[in-house]
């Protein structure tokens, strides 16, 4: 069975766009109630439980409230940019979803429909490019509000997101070294086991690229502006920073953008490191579409549904981790944040790329073919690196804000703690 072409392809794509956008928006709604429930439970409360069963309709009540509330605009705001910022906040997170494969391909009578909105050849380079646009919503919202607090939030946001962009991009380089391809469906296939076709690694990349997962996840946290990296919002210091001056639906759009971003990052981690829609310990779902149109494996509609479920479960678990971290860890101090980004993450990721590159070179010199053993050797190397990383970070020498060797009076105000 060949992939769909022509008019059927256009129709299928339009259908997928509508379907996945609705699913994403629904997921965002559920994520808001999920976050409030989880944080309530963590604090021994019961969370929202008044509207509908288990408080599930609370999201609808909130949405209605936000639609009906008064839209305010400060007199000193710059109107066009003030209106544009929430759109730019929500846009990148939603269009990022276009390159994420959700499930195994669906066979129809017109051909095979891949469960990805746009299988662009530049794959996750698109992710990095679009992800960077997210900073405009924050910076523009902060600046156009005409408020000092918002401006500070916007400035912090842009500095932070630009800084962690670097680590985010670099943490995916080992992935390219391993897969030799940037297309998301190909990355998913590379993590599955096949008896025919080009060689794959037969294991989720979270094992051979354990440390890479850590770096990607931390940078992803910083990209989504959530705790412990929520410096742009920082209720206590900046009165929620860049969206202080926003009200009603415009404020709500920033929130939707944030949750969509969280879901998107969780989905990206799933695709890159947790095998995408792959169901573990079961070979029946391993379906691969090669670039010349050949299909390996047997796609069926129920496999599509099952793999969609697997993808959903993995993504939800990662969203839970996001929420879990948010309600546990305190916020970084601003200088610690910048130190972590530029003085630690950047160097560590660069070294990591070098180490992985050399190990791959070594493995290929020894002559181990791509596959399980190849991944196992990399896994051992990563375990060792994770140990080093843990030791270095645990000794509290890397992410503290000064103390030892700190400059005397006149240096940064916050120094002297941590040591």
């Amino acid at each position: 069975m060949n992939p769909v072409t022509g008019g059927a392809f256009v129709l299928a794509t339009v259908g997928k766009v509508i379907l996945f956008f609705s699913v994403l928006m629904l997921a965002v709604m559920l994520a808001t109630i999920f976050e409030r429930k989880v944080c309530g439970f963590m604090q021994d409360r019961s969370g929202p439980n008044r509207v509908g069963p288990w408080g599930l309709l609370q999201v609808i009540a909130d949405g209605l409230k936000n639609l009906l509330k008064e839209e305010t605009m400060p007199a000193q705001a710059v109107r066009p940019f003030f209106l544009l910022a929430p759109v730019l906040g929500i846009l990148p997170a939603t269009i990022l979803f276009a390159v994420i494969p959700f499930a195994s391909p669906l066979p129809t009578q017109w051909g095979l429909v891949e469960m990805i909105v746009a299988d662009v050849p530049i794959g996750f380079l698109y992710v990095l490019a679009i992800g960077s646009i997210g900073v405009y919503g924050v910076a523009m919202g902060g600046w156009a509000s005409g408020s000092k607090y918002s401006l500070l939030g916007g400035l912090r946001g842009s500095a932070q997101m630009v800084s962690y962009e670097v680590a985010l991009a670099l943490s995916l380089v080992p992935l390219i070294l391993l897969t030799g391809d940037v297309r998301a469906p190909e990355i998913v296939s590379m993590q599955q086991t096949f008896t025919a076709g080009p060689a794959t690694y037969a294991t989720w990349f979270m094992f051979p690229l354990l440390v890479g997962l850590f770096f990607f996840f931390v940078s992803g946290l910083a990209e989504t502006n959530r705790l412990p990296f929520d410096l742009p919002e920082a209720e206590a210091e900046l009165i929620t920073g860049y969206h202080t001056e926003y009200s009603a639906m415009k404020f709500s759009m920033f929130m939707i953008g944030e949750f969509a971003h969280v879901i998107t990052v969780a989905a990206l981690v799933t695709v890159f490191f947790l095998g995408g829609w792959d169901i573990p310990f079961w070979q029946g779902d391993n379906i691969r579409v090669l670039s010349d149109g050949t299909v390996i494996g047997e796609p069926t509609w129920w496999k599509t549904l099952l793999t969609l479920g697997a993808f959903g479960v993995k993504t939800s678990l990662l969203v839970l981790v996001f929420v879990w971290i948010r309600w546990t860890l305190p916020r970084f101090r601003y200088d610690q944040l910048m130190d972590l980004g530029w003085k630690f993450m950047l160097e560590a990721v660069t070294v990591y790329i070098l180490v992985i590159a050399f190990v791959i070179l070594g493995i290929e010199a020894v002559g181990i073919p791509a596959g399980g053993w190849y991944a196992f050797v990399l896994f051992l190397v990563n375990l060792a690196l994770a140990g080093v990383l843990f030791f270095a970070m645990d000794r509290g020498t890397l992410i503290r804000g000064g103390a030892k060797g700190a400059k005397p009076a006149g240096g940064d105000a916050g120094e002297g703690q941590g040591g």
Binding site: G40, F41, M42, D44, T328, D394, G396, P408, A409
Partner: protein
């Protein structure tokens, strides 16, 4: 370092970020999974009030339904915030009664002096607090409304320990 700030070199175990973070994460996860939630589902589950809770006033009545108040004027005198309005009157048999008796619950600080000073144990504070209203006028309780209240009256002292020892 500004001035003579002493920098304490903490031991490694104390300055451990990863271990501390992991410990925090385990604590929150334990609370997430624990079924023991502390939230009181308020309108469904009410507080259990102590017998000496001082809340909304209540006027005691004789068996025939008349208010016990003899309009002696002690409670408006003792009231520290002047929230009691009393206009005394006399009936045909020469007994004094309150022609107007109003308590502004908005102004009241629920000190309980009125109950303490009352010679005939007519005015009482009550074990009751849900007295929200839609207008300020409704917060001024007249005699009729004070008589209508049905909640328990406040105990001024613990019957087992009257001298608070």
């Amino acid at each position: 370092m500004p001035g003579d700030v002493k920098v304490v070199e903490r031991p490694r175990a104390e300055s451990s970020y990863v271990r501390a973070a992991a410990k925090g994460m385990s604590i929150t996860m334990r609370h997430l999974l624990s079924p023991n939630k502390k939230t009181q589902q308020y309108p469904d589950e009410k507080w259990e009030l102590a017998p000496r809770t001082r809340g909304t006033h209540r006027m005691a009545v004789h068996e025939d339904g008349r208010a016990k108040c003899v309009a002696c004027g002690l409670c408006p005198t003792v009231c520290p915030v002047n929230c009691i309005k009393l206009v005394p009157a006399e009936d045909e048999s020469g007994e004094r009664y309150a022609a107007i008796y109003e308590i502004d619950e908005f102004r009241c600080i629920f000190c309980g002096y009125c109950q303490e000073v009352c010679p005939v144990e007519a005015i009482h504070l009550g074990v009751h607090y849900e007295n929200a209203e839609y207008s300020r006028e409704r917060w001024v309780y007249d005699l009729e409304r004070l008589v209508e209240q049905e909640h328990d009256v406040t105990a001024l002292w613990d019957p087992q320990d009257p001298a608070s020892q």
